[in-house]
Symmetry: C3
Subunit: 669 residues, 3 copies
């Protein structure tokens, strides 16, 4: 277990370093991440390397009991390099080449940059291979974290894309057939004819577009792995990781995470996920589920955050709350971004633990308290994370919908969040998995809008259901094959056996069409006796269903499909499949989720008022409950048995009273 901060000695005078180390130690910190943007300091001119300043910083920190994680500095190549090789700059989809003075402005595929990358990474790894204070490496920083989300359209990427396609399809006739290039006269007779999916006079072939998104994701993974290999070879015995960005959509994090010892992510609850603790929880669960093991938070918000425009300030208590939420969800190390707020450059308003003036204030005090709390939870860090419910999120589906949203209102991640939020509010532990994960450990898999399917996924889902699992699918599931082509079979095509119903017709909301469009498509009404009575709007899309073996859980009101089934339930083997033909609002999803959990006998350890999160961990086979109050008011939680709060050593009998943003970690006694 580490608790630390991201530290930039190169931003401050050497005279200050010892004071910083002293303050860190006094706050209970035992780790820094350093150097991930310091190529200009490491190699001030080509071929001339200088790690002395970093050695000194590592040494001073070590003397204060603080270990170091080193970033490879490739997110920000130095001015001399980019001036010499402007072809390295990424080209965006408007055809504009990036320029100097920013970050992540390089192309992932260009060989000359790979060559410079190899040199600096090797030098760094060689230099620190035997330094015991350096315990691990972070490769680069936040792949994809820039305006283009890492999608480069330069000539190098164009050629690399064509080669990637050749490796994938081997023959042009296979590619032409898989993509359906007969449409709009797009048959390719040479690999070099294949374009990038530039904005154009009309939309690109969606199969080409999906493959481009896959290629660019692979390109970043390949670029990472080039570094991972050097680090492992040259500097064995230290861990290698990368800092991900939660729900970031453009790189397949499952594949990216594979060669890493563990994954880390950068958690800014008040930056892009304002006051939405469920969205933060979902990102934690996604990150943990990638490798199904403890992860790091490599950047944990430590103050107001933003670049040219900053967000709201965390309220007192929130920094600690977010820290403990991270631990609850499976983080075993927390690194705050950043130690001291930078006085210059593009992130002057991305606030650190210390303000610009370098004086410890209320954020420092709060981090210190969080460190003390973490120390009390050390034994839980590797404790089990029991999740019997999984939400399925596919990168391939994300990209397929990016190419073709189909309905102007369809937002795949919003659909996923709606289901996640409902289940999370019901206080069950959740994994957020990709279709490639194992399904056997779950009782419930919620896979909304599983747009693409392949044989492997379908077979494993069938096995999962047959064995007694509950599978929830929703509109636009099973529509396409893995190359983004609509299946030939009647929808839901290969999922039809599971769903027990077929799709006779469908309609989107068509919001784009006209201001006269009706406010709603239709309504949904629950009709199953075990479901609470509910009637509300059907949004985004309506599938019009013919029941085969399934029965109706809900029916439509209104429009020409009035009275037809909107939600179906199909028994399959020992399990069941629920198919939701439309986009439901939060109330409906919550009711449906309750019923699903109930039918699977899944029970939350505690009920809570709104805004209080429960996460259950298992230590020595016994449940330990994190109770997190995300409200700015006090909250009261009823507890069934006596319990002890590990943080305060206080005991509770009936009821736990939590201050605003406070947390308890309960052992049931």
């Amino acid at each position: 277990m580490y608790i630390g901060s991201d530290y930039y000695p190169e931003h401050w005078p050497r005279e200050r370093w010892r004071e910083d180390a002293r303050l860190m130690q006094a706050a209970g910190l035992n780790l820094v991440r350093m150097a991930e943007f310091a190529w200009d300091r490491m190699e001030p001119e080509e071929g001339s390397f200088d790690f002395s300043w970093l050695d000194e910083a590592i040494q001073i920190l070590a003397e204060h009991g603080i270990k170091t994680v080193l970033g490879t500095p490739t997110a920000t190549p130095p001015a001399w390099l980019m001036h010499k090789h402007p072809e390295i700059y990424l080209v965006n989809r408007e055809g504009r080449r990036a320029s100097f003075g920013s970050r992540r402005h390089y192309c992932p595929t260009i060989e000359v940059y790979h060559s410079y990358t190899r040199k600096i990474v090797r030098k760094l790894a060689e230099h620190y291979a035997s330094n015991e204070n350096v315990i691990g490496y972070q490769v680069d920083n936040e792949f994809g974290g820039s305006r283009t989300r890492g999608r480069c359209y330069c000539n190098s990427c164009h050629r690399a894309f064509q080669q990637w396609l050749e490796a994938k399809y081997r023959t042009l006739s296979r590619l032409n057939e898989s993509w359906g290039t007969a449409f709009w006269s797009q048959t390719y007779s040479a690999w070099e004819q294949i374009p990038l999916p530039w904005p154009n006079e009309a939309p690109a072939n969606p199969s080409l577009e999906l493959d481009y998104y896959r290629f660019i994701s692979d390109a970043w993974i390949k670029y990472q792995n080039l570094q991972v290999e050097i680090l492992r070879n040259v500097s064995p015995g230290k861990f290698v990781t990368h800092n991900l960005m939660g729900l970031f959509p453009s790189i397949d994090y499952r594949k990216l995470g594979e060669p890493l010892d563990f994954v880390a992510w950068d958690n800014y609850p008040r930056f892009s996920q304002h006051l939405d603790p469920a969205a933060v929880a979902m990102a934690h669960d996604l990150t943990r589920s990638l490798k199904n093991r403890p992860f790091w938070v490599m950047e944990q918000q430590s103050g107001p955050a933003g670049q040219n425009v900053m967000g709201t300030a965390p309220s007192p208590g929130e920094l600690r709350l977010w820290t403990l939420q991270s631990i609850a969800h499976g983080a075993d190390s927390i690194v705050y971004f950043r130690w001291r707020t930078c006085r210059w450059g593009a992130e002057q308003y991305w606030h650190g633990i210390l303000p610009h003036d370098g004086k410890p204030g209320h954020r420092y005090a709060e981090i210190k308290r969080a460190a003390q709390d973490m120390a009390k939870l050390k034994h839980l860090m590797c404790s089990a994370y029991p999740a019997q419910v999984a939400v399925m999120r596919s990168y391939d589906v994300l990209w397929a919908f990016e190419a073709q949203p189909t309905s102007a209102d369809l937002d795949y991640d919003q659909e996923l969040k709606s289901y996640y939020r409902a289940l999370h509010s019901l206080n069950v532990n959740i994994d957020v998995i990709t279709p490639e994960a194992e399904y056997d450990k779950y009782k419930v898999i919620v896979a909304p809008s599983l747009y693409l399917t392949n044989d492997d996924i379908v077979q494993r889902l069938e096995k999962f259901v047959a064995a007694g699992g509950t599978l929830l699918l929703s509109f636009r599931s099973g529509v396409k094959d893995w190359e983004n082509v609509v299946h030939e079979e009647t929808l839901p095509a290969h999922l039809a056996g599971l769903v027990g119903a077929s799709i006779a017709d469908y309609t989107s909301t068509g919001r784009f069409e006209s201001p006269n469009a009706p406010a709603q498509l239709a309504e949904v009404e629950f009709v199953h006796p075990e479901l609470t009575s509910y009637r509300g709007t059907a949004s985004v899309w309506c599938d019009i269903l013919n029941l085969e073996s399934a029965e109706a859980l809900a029916r439509y009101h209104g429009n020409f499909f009035n009275g037809t089934p909107a939600i179906t339930l199909n028994k399959h083997g020992n399990g069941s499949v629920i198919y939701v033909g439309t986009s439901l609002n939060d109330v409906a999803i919550r009711e449906l989720s309750k019923w699903i959990l109930r039918t699977q006998g899944l029970q939350a350890p505690l009920g809570t008022p709104t805004g209080v999160e429960i996460i259950e961990r298992r230590y020595n086979e016994k449940p330990v409950l994190f109770v997190l109050n995300h409200n700015s008011e006090r909250a009261t939680v009823s507890i069934p048995t006596a319990a002890r709060d590990i943080l305060t050593d206080q005991r509770y009998n009936d009821e736990l009273l939590l201050d605003p943003f406070d947390v308890a970690v309960l052992e049931l006694v």
Copy 2:
């Protein structure tokens, strides 16, 4: 009379073709359009032509009684051609060159593409000249139907524009004078100095901009005609047409239609004209009026439509309703787009008669019924279309307003639609004409915002009014000459004699200025005893009028021009001219239209409830009434005399009851 579908044998296995033909025949279809995107199949590599697949498809279809219209495939040049000649790609006004993998991405003027076009069109025409199953050709597909609307800014177009200008003006001094280049030091001393109207530091000269829009329209027409000439020479005896896009603004359809045997258009009521049957009716009327003869619907919506995002699904009954509406307005052949929904490519969600799975469903059944109905109406196809009211829409005015909207709220087509909608709701037949049309056959011409005038138009309008016609003009009429220069005379300049009033001042709404702008400029109140009492908002623009020979029909309330005339009436010869100084809302326009029709003694054959459309045709001098219920509820229509519904052979005496989306075609008996 043909009824058919757009068919893409190249998208499906040969084994399927015969089944498709069988299903088409069973549904009553007797025509397909094919091949307009199949250049890659016709010429898989340069100079190597293959029509055998198409021959086979034509043959199979013919065996099922189905004739073929062939598209020339130039909307989608193949990959090998574009890879060899990237200079063919269109350049948009942001300076971005298009790339492969889409459609309509070619420049209209570039000679190398003309040369390839000549070759493929000649080959196609030669091959099918003697094939009796091929009855005609469609040139290319939807000229202008892409993001740029066909406006190319490449070097070839730049040079062609300069040559077009030289041909038009002959001398630079004439051009300089016509455009007023003295403004902002823009005098040209060489043709090659003349720029394209790129987005720039400040607006371009509006005369240059208008001429560029004319040039690009002419460029497409020239490109079409290059093909028409080859088709006529090489493959005589077959018709030649092109599929237009209704109200599409960027190509002068009157000129485009001239060399064609008839025009066709592509009708998607639930794509861009959601639930606005009047807008569809207007597009039909525009298309018919271009050549004043029956037209085809070459693509008639057959299901939900859209590319990356699709619209709402047609309700049951709407496909048939739209078919019969097309017939009512003068279409004599209907081709549905498309036969079967494509499983790949950019239009996977542009639904055909058959779903992706190829199984006939409810859309197939509905098309079959529509075909049966059409058969009963065969005798009406060439029947007269009696219209005594015309709405005037000028391409030159469209483009002049595109260059200078003058008021931020001014939308020329919206103004036209407002007047069209009112007249259409009053159940009179309407022609939608350009200023170049004959005026003599009408009793009423409604020409809102006739911004540009020339001597020919003014003289013919004067003749029309003098002979007893009623002319409606509105604000911004007569402002400019044909080169987009404000007339020197007091407004409405050359129309002043007709209007009988002069414009002392005016104001726009100036919406762009500030959030503090007042909600309305002023109000309009009707003051003529024959007009129903009305008071409501004056929008967009207010002309402040001095009456000369005219009298006031309405006056303003509020603002500094309170009490001055807002609408005037001027007697001129045997006719009268109404001038509307502001933008009226639908209620006001409807009242005004009623009064105009009444004064001209024009009477609708039937009154109808909202949403029920009446179109009158004349067969053997007797009226036949199409009664179309666009409502999703039943509608009741009172009928004055006994009538027989040709479709059902049912007879009605007082009252006709129509189901949702149902249609009757009444012979009065």
Copy 3:
């Protein structure tokens, strides 16, 4: 005192010139500005100059008692020049090079254009040096007045920027340190590595961005001065000016104005400042304060204005009202834009005194009346403008906030306008100064969000307060040094001594984050006994303050900083400093302003109803009051003593009744 119009003889036939001159004279005009867009007429081909047409126009006008100001024609280089040297075109931040057919499309730094500029300006100056009817020159026209606001990103500007930086910083190490290039590995080891601040993958270094904005402002000033020097040398004895654009943000008008005899500006109240007389007043006050002496309005709105889209028409009376408002605020000459509305080109709807038809109408009559009024006020033109209150607006701060708004809702000019508007509504005269101005003459300086400070400004503010002045500062004051780097000291850093409080923390509204963001941050409540009771929203930003020597004037309600000071008052020497920690609404600012004026014993000469503006001038030590009714209704103003209206010679005792848009100029008797 001049009253005239902008005149374009090159737009009209010579036959008309004499009629125009006659009409001008009859209206009382005695000046024209001409030729600022007539390079094509002056030099129709390279090296061949022709001023004969202009000589003739000047002569005809002179015969009608009308003097001429000549514009140098460099805003619109002719077609032959731009065709020969396309490298002159400006490049915008999207990388697009401008093209011909617009205006202001040239780069400010490119040497070849400087060379052509020198030639044409020298020729013009030589030709008119001895022409007595030419009384002065306007250099170019509205520097920065185009889409890019004059910000060029071409290679010439790139090199010039690097040279500008070298001249400023002398060594790269000084630049690297000043900018904090250690952040994101941006250390420069050669001047040519330094980029322009293109849009990029992530934000640029804000210090680089600020320096670029300074550089481009300097580039235009340098370009102006190149012309000024020639005009002064070749044509001595005539004034040189330039027409500014009020609150235009991208050029430092203080520096631009320095070498000019006086500044002029272009005043369009109904173009961009719709119905906001206070914003117009502020622009006047800014313009006057630049050189602290009378200025010209070189373009005064004379009708509806706009390019492709025009604004609302001025109501009758407004043209005269705006004229007299200009005079009241210190203009001593008024030139209307333009004489006659142009029939062609991009400004056909920028209306002149005469309509397109050239016939004098109601605007002509109103201008004539304004000219008569001006004649009566001649003696006041150089009268004193007594202002004891200053609002401070810094170009450097504008640019620093442009680089980093910090809060998504922060708008520096809106903050300034809020304070200006409140003070203006309290009927005190105001100067709008830059930080470089003298402070000694004021009793109150209002300097909201004085984001950047340097030693000179801080020292002079301290001196000002110590001597008894009242200084108002607000949130984000004193945050950064002059190179856009956050001060190392606790905020408000170098202003802390003045403020007497320190900033413990802060929060922005963070509007960008999420739709769930709370509607307001907190509320502000006045708590000082001398302040009227008030409670209302705290917007944009909240500083959380620790009082040191200061006391609280207001406190926050709500959020985690509930109860802490929101506004503080600190006594310092003989004066006091008010610090406002948040953005207040108009009511709060007005109350606070009232109290500030009261404590400084500043009294308005008159109280007025809303929309009636009072400006006080001093003639022979006695007050003269301009009373301007900006309302479209009558207004009644109580007057304390008897008074005479100079315009009408009418006398008033208790009460002045003003018609809509009417003006009185009162001598108190």
